[in-house]
């Protein structure tokens, strides 16, 4: 089966979800582009968008139309060539509208999983629940005569467990997009010892067509991205809890968030990132990963408390952040949650005390959004973290300890055999988490 044939009949499971909708969009566009090639004219391409939620599927189609419009506008030059034989399509606007129509015509939104029985390729983006994934995939595979290939988007469940549980020997791999898939360039590719070489090759070709950066990860729970993020998040949480011995917890959370963003020159502080991903998701992924980890307890009581209270973070469909550890107003952090009082405490009530604790930042600070544009980042960060190492302020010491821990997490992912090398760890954090420098470096030693 050629690449094009493989993509003639595809299903996405969990298509209305945050990840599923992005995977559906990218796959729909890739399939539509294949269908426009002269040699594929007249061939039928089918993409099933399968989800349990009717409302979700309706929203998915709206999302798809809006996103495909943007995609089409960007490649109007190419589309004019592809539709050059259509004498009825003259203006860019008409061609773009036809392309949207052609993409949407392939997509079949449905709540019925049975349609996947005819697919050659199945993307799985349902909840992070190993047993659910195994149940669904084994049911499809029992009824699908095509020896279909299964690409799971799990960010935490070991692939070989899915392979064994669902009886998919060699026909499954982890194809882990980052959120949101349509924007993030990183994909973690995880194969099992059985994965067929042609399946892996197809995955690489597909990723290339989608212009993704592929980083291979070995098959350990959490892989590279969550392997780093979850431990980094736990370190942040525990650092705040430690500080809370000398100050109220909201103030401690505020300080750790600020230092992990500004001093460490990251796109957002660690608590904002937890909120962005979702307190629920972080707690859940830790739960999934924890049983597979030896000599390590990846678990936070504070996350459990937040979940019990019902403060979950996450994102609105617009991408704006929902309140979690932090409260947001048009993207700006305005308050911090106090789990004891079960209310948000406005930053201005403790800002003075927090600032006094942190002290003044050394001169030469460049925020993340400017730092990523610096040509010689290595020299810049050497100098910046050099200044922090010389500083006696508590905030600088905290930042250095944080950076050292992040570095140690990165190196451990290699010694544990999760990543093949530290470059891969750094690529994941640079590409998938938009860090300005890789966690494995010499800046903090």
């Amino acid at each position: 089966m050629t690449y094009d044939e493989r993509l003639q009949h595809v299903s996405v499971l969990g298509a209305a979800g945050k990840m599923g909708s992005g995977i559906l969009l990218l796959t729909a566009v890739e399939m539509a582009d294949l269908s426009l090639k002269p040699e594929n004219k007249g061939k039928r391409f089918v993409l099933n968008a399968i989800d349990l939620s009717d409302d979700g599927l309706a929203g998915l189609m709206d999302y798809l139309r809006a996103q495909v419009l943007k995609v089409a506008e960007k490649k109007a030059v190419w589309l004019r060539q592809m539709y050059s034989d259509r004498s009825d399509l003259i203006e860019n606007g008409e061609i773009i509208e036809q392309y949207i129509q052609d993409v949407l015509r392939m997509v079949r939104p449905t709540t019925a999983m049975e349609v996947a029985y005819r697919s050659n390729l199945i993307f799985e983006a349902v909840s992070e629940n190993k047993d659910l994934k195994i149940k669904i995939l084994s049911q499809i595979d029992r009824n699908n005569p095509n020896q279909a290939w299964y690409f799971t988007n799990t960010s935490s469940v070991p692939i070989h467990l899915i392979e064994e549980g669902a009886g998919l020997k060699g026909r499954v791999l982890g194809f882990h997009f980052y959120n949101p898939p349509a924007v993030q360039r990183l994909v973690e590719l995880i194969v099992t010892p059985n994965t067929l070489p042609e399946t892996r090759q197809f995955a690489l070709d597909y990723a290339k067509a989608l212009k993704k950066v592929v980083v291979p990860s070995n098959d350990f729970a959490g892989f590279i991205g969550n392997g780093h993020f979850m431990r980094d998040a736990l370190f942040g949480i525990n650092t705040a809890l430690g500080l809370a011995n000398e100050m109220p917890l909201p103030q401690a959370i505020y300080i750790v968030n600020k230092i992990s963003q500004d001093y460490l020159v990251r796109p957002m502080g660690i608590f904002q990132l937890i909120d962005y991903v979702g307190v629920d998701v972080v707690q859940f992924i830790m739960q999934v990963m924890n049983p597979f980890l030896a000599n390590e307890d990846l678990h936070s009581d504070l996350l459990d408390r937040m979940m019990t209270i019902g403060v979950k973070g996450g994102q609105f469909s617009s991408g704006a952040q929902k309140d979690g550890f932090l409260k947001y107003d048009k993207g700006a952090i305005t308050a911090v949650y106090d789990p004891d009082k079960q209310e948000y405490i406005a930053i201005e009530t403790f800002a003075a005390a927090a600032n006094e604790w942190m002290g003044t930042m050394p001169e030469g600070f460049v925020p993340w959004k400017n730092a990523i544009r610096i040509a010689d980042k290595d020299s810049h960060f050497k100098a910046w973290f050099g200044l922090l190492k010389q500083s006696n302020s508590k905030s600088a010491k905290l930042a250095i300890a944080y950076g050292k821990n992040s570095d140690a997490i990165g190196r451990k992912l290699v010694t544990d055999g999760v990543a093949n090398n530290t470059d891969d760890v750094n690529t994941v954090m640079l590409t998938g988490f938009f860090h300005a420098y890789g966690p494995v470096n010499e800046y903090f030693s």
């Binding site: 506008e73 109007a76 004019r80």
Partner: protein, 411 residues
């Protein structure tokens, strides 16, 4: 001409669009009505008696599609109640619409059906994304050829012209001229607060230009975006009057320029240019205007030419007869058209630097010449030598199809 015609009281709105700090494509912006009013009121602020305006002409290209609004003559009375129940109409000739508005005004005064005419040129184009704007602007070409044209239709047309020029005279040689044309445009625009590139602060413009290689996959084969004029919202206005008209409006002759000549030629829109590396309609129209004015290019103190693309600037230099075919690139690269050169061109940035509100450009060009010849150009002011008291405009519609050229003279 049977009587003397003057122009005075010119006014420009800001040319709004990418480049201006205050431009945000995601936020709601003022519409067509605002620009017509701003330009009109800018003119009226310089006259004593609005009742003395006998007629209004509005040049506009595609408001019917950009703004879903036609019938622009009806907006004259929104500028001032004195324009109510007076003649007002709009004219269209693609990007030469502004020039045609001036022509209509001149003819009214010559015909003695008016002593003073308010001419306005306007276009508000940022209502749609560039990819759809390209569809709309393609209306300046022959629609029967739209299908085979480029997604970015007019950039595609002038990219083809540039491609022939490169082939004939050499790529690096040609690009050096086009690069200098772009550099001049930015440097001049920085001198005019209404220019779209007024805020431009790129330190090394030439290096920026060189870093952006033309890429046919995302845009067109032979031009980068810096070779192109801006997508603009803007309007300009000016008074066209007889001596009597100036008196009634309370405008001193010292604040006016005289129309020494005008010419307007049109070539067959259904035919491709005879030679892609030559702007023949521009050449003929400019020659006619100069001969009617009884002067040579040596007497021109400054020129505003229609540089919708940098290559059009080079080809205009050749069409005007400053140099032979193929030597325009060197002429520009040597700085001969820069503000300190022997024939300063587009001294407030032209279409690439000041902006290109398509139907407004022809009027903007005469406003710049009027400013230069009356000493009102502010930081962009040239020293106009005594032996060169003339200024010239070349306003082009479509691919060298409709051309309006005016020769203006210091009074």
């Amino acid at each position: 001409m049977r009587r003397k015609i003057y122009m005075a009281a010119g006014a420009n709105t800001i040319s709004m669009g990418t480049g201006r700090k205050e431009f945000n494509p995601k936020k709601e912006r003022p519409g067509l009505e605002y620009y017509i009013n701003e330009a009109g009121k800018g003119v009226l602020a310089q006259i004593t008696d609005p009742e003395a305006i006998d007629e209004t002409v509005i040049g506009n290209f595609m408001s019917g599609r950009f703004n879903k609004q036609a019938h622009l003559g009806g907006f004259a009375a929104t500028i001032h109640p004195a324009l109510q129940y007076k003649p007002s109409h709009s004219v269209e000739g693609a990007c030469a619409s502004g020039g045609l508005a001036l022509m209509a005004g001149i003819r009214s005064v010559l015909a003695e059906t008016a002593e003073a005419v308010l001419a306005i040129g306007v276009e508000v184009q940022n209502t749609v994304k560039a990819i759809y704007g390209a569809d709309i602007l393609a209306g300046a070409g022959w629609f029967q050829k739209r299908k085979q044209g480029h997604a970015y239709f007019f950039p595609g047309q002038f990219s083809d012209r540039a491609g022939v020029y490169y082939e004939r005279y050499g790529y690096d040689y040609s690009r050096a001229g086009m690069r200098q044309w772009f550099v001049n445009a930015m440097e001049n625009a920085r001198l005019d607060p209404t220019a779209q590139e007024y805020h431009n602060n790129t330190a090394d413009l030439a290096a920026l230009y060189d870093s952006m290689k033309p890429n046919g996959k995302s845009f067109v084969d032979h031009l980068n975006v810096l070779d192109c004029s801006k997508v603009s919202d803007g309007a300009s206005g000016i008074i066209i009057a007889s001596e009597e008209g100036l008196r009634r409006l309370g405008i001193s002759k010292a604040d006016a320029v005289e129309v020494a000549a005008f010419a307007q030629l049109t070539r067959n829109i259904t035919e491709d240019p005879a030679d892609p590396a030559s702007l023949t309609t521009i050449g003929r129209t400019a020659a006619l205007a100069l001969s009617r004015a009884g002067i040579t290019t040596g007497q021109l103190g400054t020129i505003e030419t229609h540089d919708c693309f940098s290559i059009a600037g080079l080809l205009a230099v050749e069409a005007l007869g400053f140099v032979k075919a193929g030597e325009g690139a060197a002429f520009v690269a040597e700085g001969r058209t820069s503000r300190n050169g022997d024939i300063p061109m587009n001294t407030t940035g032209g279409l690439i630097g000041w902006g290109h509100p398509t139907g407004g450009t022809g009027v903007h060009q005469v406003v710049t010449i009027w400013q230069q010849l009356t000493g009102k150009a502010g930081a962009a002011q040239l020293n106009i030598p005594e032996q060169k008291p003339y200024g010239m405009t070349i306003n082009m519609g479509g691919d060298d199809v409709t051309v309006v050229s005016l020769v203006l003279k210091q009074v």
